[in-house]
């Protein structure tokens, strides 16, 4: 790492996340003064975007090579009052909460009190949504059955493809003009709305070119007063870069990165879309520039690495926009999920791993930053050297990169009807979501609490926490004579709530289609321009909506426990069991012990437990898959939680798998915390019983102690564990390299860590099976090894 990257990295790490009112004030000024009075909504939105870019402050950090900040300074985070206007109380919470805080200074509070809140209160998109959504939606939402992604953020959930590396904005403007000239006002009833969309897109494209020019002007000024000759030359060069891109297609490695970054800023300034934005297959996009320039001698590997590191710091300077309420609970992190994809296959299906793939992995390891997130796509066509290199970074224990199955992703996407070339150009974004990069709008609508629905089923439609009947009356538990009657009642409830969720999402989508088009984002994703249709209105080539199932492990183990203890063995009745759950096992400790230690558990390659997993999967899949949305998207399922498994557990009583009230439910498709006691190969065998190819992504977490990866042999074995899982069509796996804190927790709560394998001394063992003195020794060693 060069000294200046070290300095910039340090500054980025030390910068305090804070709220900047700049964008909110500009957008308020724009609408308050009717600066686009009478214009169509898309044109209004485009002009609002231009107004922000023309007036926002420009920040160039000392020594950096890639320029542009979303706010006035690193980690100064804008807000989006047209989506959701924060109250003064929200600002206080953001300022003072312990985790994921944002500092709010007095001037910002005042701007909110005097200008922003008075204008937007009751007029934000959130207000529109909440008013339009029906009572059954509100009841289920309050009960914690599901969350709603569009409550505080805009739909985004998409990734840049290769277009921007081939086309400058000027050329995209020509494309727009060509489409306009061919609009059929005779035969196409939508020709006029298309014209409005296209005019909006053109304004947005022009706005980003001028925004880059504003940077060029300031870079020239900085250059003229710069004493250091080398930096002076660099600043002049950077000014030239900002004049070349995004106006024109990039000609150099530097220009390619800077172009993407302006696009990124455009997307996250226009709105606060989920998962910010993402360059996707960065090694594929950059390799041609790298090869061309290194061949010509105009770029060294060291130069390229420094540019990439400067680029990396840009991501880290941009925390996710502030979230409050349920949105903060479901995604409680500064990470904004820009997930760099490395590896995979090329459009023609051949191995895509290249020199740039390894350079990016080096950058990830050296930068060790929270953002951007990173992952490797592993196809059966990729070499072992590639996956082993990735595992060596995993071992250092900062949770990156995660590992994805390219061959599964391609099958998932083609099953949904995508062209194979588009599927091969895709990957995973956000946490684990499959998408066709540059051509798909794949919107996550919210998390869905499967174990909570079992709780509602056991209560015949009643939610004990909000004290309301919110579900169907599917029968009193006394009347369930067989397990299948209970399972059928559960199926009906899942269908019922999935229906409520999808209806609500369709209402919300209609509101976004009408009020919040995204002309800038539409420039980047095909085929919005050629169709003259906005990204939010179905302009993308492919449109998908996801509902993300949470707590698969918890609901599976709960059903298994009920089946075994109540219906097979007759050891207790459903009524008795429910009493114990309502009492949070107080006075029923022996029953809880039996539930935890003497019923089969998902994650052990045990058919007796995994059968319920398949039932849960089919029930959830049938309830969601294939429903349609107003913009023409198809609803699909995926299985991931971000941090929502904690929130979903907090709204629940105790559950039949032995989980206590309020405790987290299982995350992703991982087994219940600690329930897998037969090692990782049994876990992947169980997890592979899910039909991953019918989802749009699943998340599997495995815990290892750092010492486990001690030598090359061990790294090869972990790599072959991954290959085995992927051969069975597993979608994703990540290795959580444990911390000393986690080991301490394992000493206190061994029941949650029955799966934890540690390397002892020429020997691996379950942590729980070690004597206390040995546990202490391993904790001390882990404290030593981890960074």
């Amino acid at each position: 790492m060069t000294p200046r990257i070290q300095k910039l990295r340090e500054e980025s790490l030390n910068a305090e996340p804070r709220i900047s009112a700049e964008r909110a004030l500009l957008v308020t000024e724009f609408y308050k003064n009717h600066l686009a009075f009478g214009d169509s909504v898309p044109v209004q939105r485009a002009k609002a975007f231009r107004h922000i870019l023309e007036n926002k402050s420009i920040c160039i950090n000392d020594g950096e090579l890639i320029v542009g900040e979303r706010g006035p300074a690193p980690k100064a985070t804008p807000t989006y009052p047209e989506i959701n206007v924060h109250s003064l109380q929200d600002l206080d919470i953001l300022n003072s909460r312990e985790k994921v805080w944002f500092r709010v200074d007095e001037a910002t509070r005042e701007a909110y009190r005097e200008v922003i809140i008075p204008f937007w209160k009751g007029r934000s998109n959130r207000d529109r949504m909440m008013e339009a959504l029906p009572k059954d939606w509100h009841d289920a939402y309050r009960a914690g059955i599901f969350t709603e992604f569009m409550e505080q953020r805009a739909p985004g959930h998409t990734v840049a493809g290769g277009k921007i590396y081939r086309k400058g904005m000027s050329e995209i403007i020509s494309d727009i003009e060509a489409v306009i000239s061919k609009l059929d006002f005779m035969g196409d009833p939508l020709a006029f709305p298309r014209l409005q969309e296209l005019l909006g897109m053109k304004i947005a494209a022009e706005a980003i070119i001028s925004y880059a020019e504003r940077h060029a002007v300031i870079l020239d000024e900085l250059a003229s007063s710069e004493k250091d000759e080398q930096r002076k030359k660099e600043l002049e060069g950077m000014a030239q870069v900002c004049r070349n891109v995004p106006a024109n297609a990039p000609q150099t490695f530097h220009e390619a990165l800077q172009y993407y970054w302006f696009v990124h800023l455009g997307v996250v300034t226009e709105l606060n879309p989920w998962d910010s934005f993402n360059p996707g297959r960065l090694d594929q996009h950059l390799m041609p520039f790298y090869r061309m320039e290194t061949d010509a001698g105009s770029l060294t590997k060291e130069d390229a690495v420094e540019l990439l590191q400067s680029f990396w710091i840009k991501f880290n300077n941009h925390p996710a926009p502030p979230k409050v309420g349920v949105t903060a609970l479901e995604s409680n992190t500064y990470t904004d999920f820009a997930l760099i994809n490395i590896g995979g296959v090329k459009e023609d299906g051949s191995d895509a791993v290249n020199e740039m793939s390894y350079i990016l992995l080096d950058v990830i390891e050296e930068m060790r930053l929270l953002q951007p997130s990173s992952m490797v796509q592993l196809s059966k066509k990729n070499p072992d050297r590639f996956i082993e290199r990735a595992v060596r970074i995993v071992k250092t224990g900062f949770g990156q990169p995660s590992i994805f199955n390219t061959d599964a992703i391609i099958q998932e996407l083609t099953r949904q009807g995508k062209d194979i070339a588009d599927a091969r150009n895709g990957g995973a974004s956000g946490c684990v979501e499959s998408g066709a990069f540059g051509t798909e709008s794949y919107i996550l609508t919210g998390y869905f609490n499967l174990p909570k629905i079992l709780e509602i089923t056991l209560h015949n439609g009643y939610d004990p926490r909000t004290d309301k009947i919110i579900g169907l009356q599917t029968g009193q538990i006394e009347d369930f004579d067989t397990y299948y009657q209970l399972l059928d009642a559960f199926r009906k409830q899942v269908n019922h709530f999935a229906g409520i969720k999808v209806k609500g999402s369709n209402i919300i989508e209609s509101i976004f289609m009408e009020h919040i088009p995204t002309p800038f984002l539409s420039l980047i994703i095909d085929d919005c321009v050629s169709r003259g249709t906005d990204y939010s209105c179905g302009g993308a080539r492919y449109n998908t909506n996801y509902v993300q199932g949470v707590g698969v492990g918890t609901v599976t183990d709960s059903l298994t426990a009920i089946r075994k203890i109540v219906f097979d063995d007759g050891l207790t009745t459903l009524t008795q069991l429910l009493l114990a759950l309502e009492a949070d096992f107080e006075g029923h400790e022996d029953l809880r012990y039996r539930l935890i230690y003497h019923t089969p558990k998902y994650g052990n390659d045990d058919p007796e437990a995994d059968e319920q997993l398949s039932d849960v999967f089919e029930i959830y899949y049938d309830a969601v898959n294939g429903r349609t949305s107003p913009r023409g998207a198809t609803y699909r399922i995926n299985l991931l939680p971000t941090t929502c498994h904690i929130y979903f557990g907090s709204v629940m009583q105790a559950s039949a798998d032995g989980r206590k009230a309020g405790k987290p439910v299982s995350e992703g498709i991982s087994p219940v915390q600690g329930a897998d006691s037969h090692g990782p190969t049994a876990v992947i065998k169980s997890a592979a019983k899910i039909d991953h190819l019918r989802t749009g992504g699943t998340l599997l977490n495995q815990k290892f102690s750092p010492s486990f990866f001690e030598n090359e042999e061990a790294i090869r074995k972990v790599a072959s564990l991954v290959r085995s899982y992927f051969r069975m069509d597993g979608h994703h796996i990540q290795f959580n390299v444990v911390s000393a804190d986690m080991l301490r927790d394992a000493q206190k709560h061994p029941e949650n860590y029955r799966d934890l394998i540690v390397r002892v001394a020429g020997y691996s063992d379950y942590f729980n099976d070690l004597g206390e003195d040995l546990q202490e020794e391993i904790i001390r060693r882990t404290e030593h090894e981890s960074f």
């Binding site: 090869r716 074995k717 072959s720």
Partner: protein
Amino acid sequence: MQGTIFDFKRFAVHDGPGIRTTVFLKGCPLRCLWCHNPESWKPEPESAEREIRLDDRLYREKEIIGRKVTVNDLMKELEKERLVMEESQGGVTFSGGEPLMQPRFLLEMLKACQENAFHTAVDTSGFALQEDLLRIMPFTSLFLFDLKMMDMRKHEQFTGADNQLILDNFRWLMQQGKPVRVRIPVVAGYTATRDNLTATLEFLTPYAENLEQVDLLPYHRIGMHKYDKLGICCEMPGESGKPDSQEMDEIYSLFNSNGHKVTIGG
């Protein structure tokens, strides 16, 4: 055909190449002081008490250590790991105890594994009848052979039996042309003395070229709590028996410089 096992471990990564499943056969003729698997000693299933803590309660359960299994039972379980074994070029390891204490069962298992195309390893103390070794030879892909003490008297003192049979078996095995890895428990003050290491090296010198590898297994005291559980008096060496990393490095270099491929931990 039935045998008695005391453990069946999937994702075993230190008992031979690749990801393996290790089947632990019950019964051992030796009583090594440093043994971390005292539950392997007796050939028959035995009962013990297991303690499980849940919140602040302690649950005690009777636990039977060791179970009778058929070849079919085990083959069904092994089949579950086939894909992982194939992908990692792993296989099945038979360990113990001393697996050759159940020679017929071991033979049947090895035959079944070969029929089903599983790579097999047998981890033996070498304290077994040569004719039994001969019988399993055609069905064994790899031998893991433990060498402990070279001095006959000390061997008897620390393991309960002298080493003549073991060393004879080793010499004989090395002439059979099967892949062999040597495993040496490194116990400071016991096996890891200058004398014993030098003698071991000397003993191995003629085989340096034919040996696949030497695994040095640093002594640990994980098994200590098992002695209590089983009601066996624990004579395991204390903390001082654990070699430190510098000692391990020295021993590693010692073997390495004598032309052996060495691992720490296997």
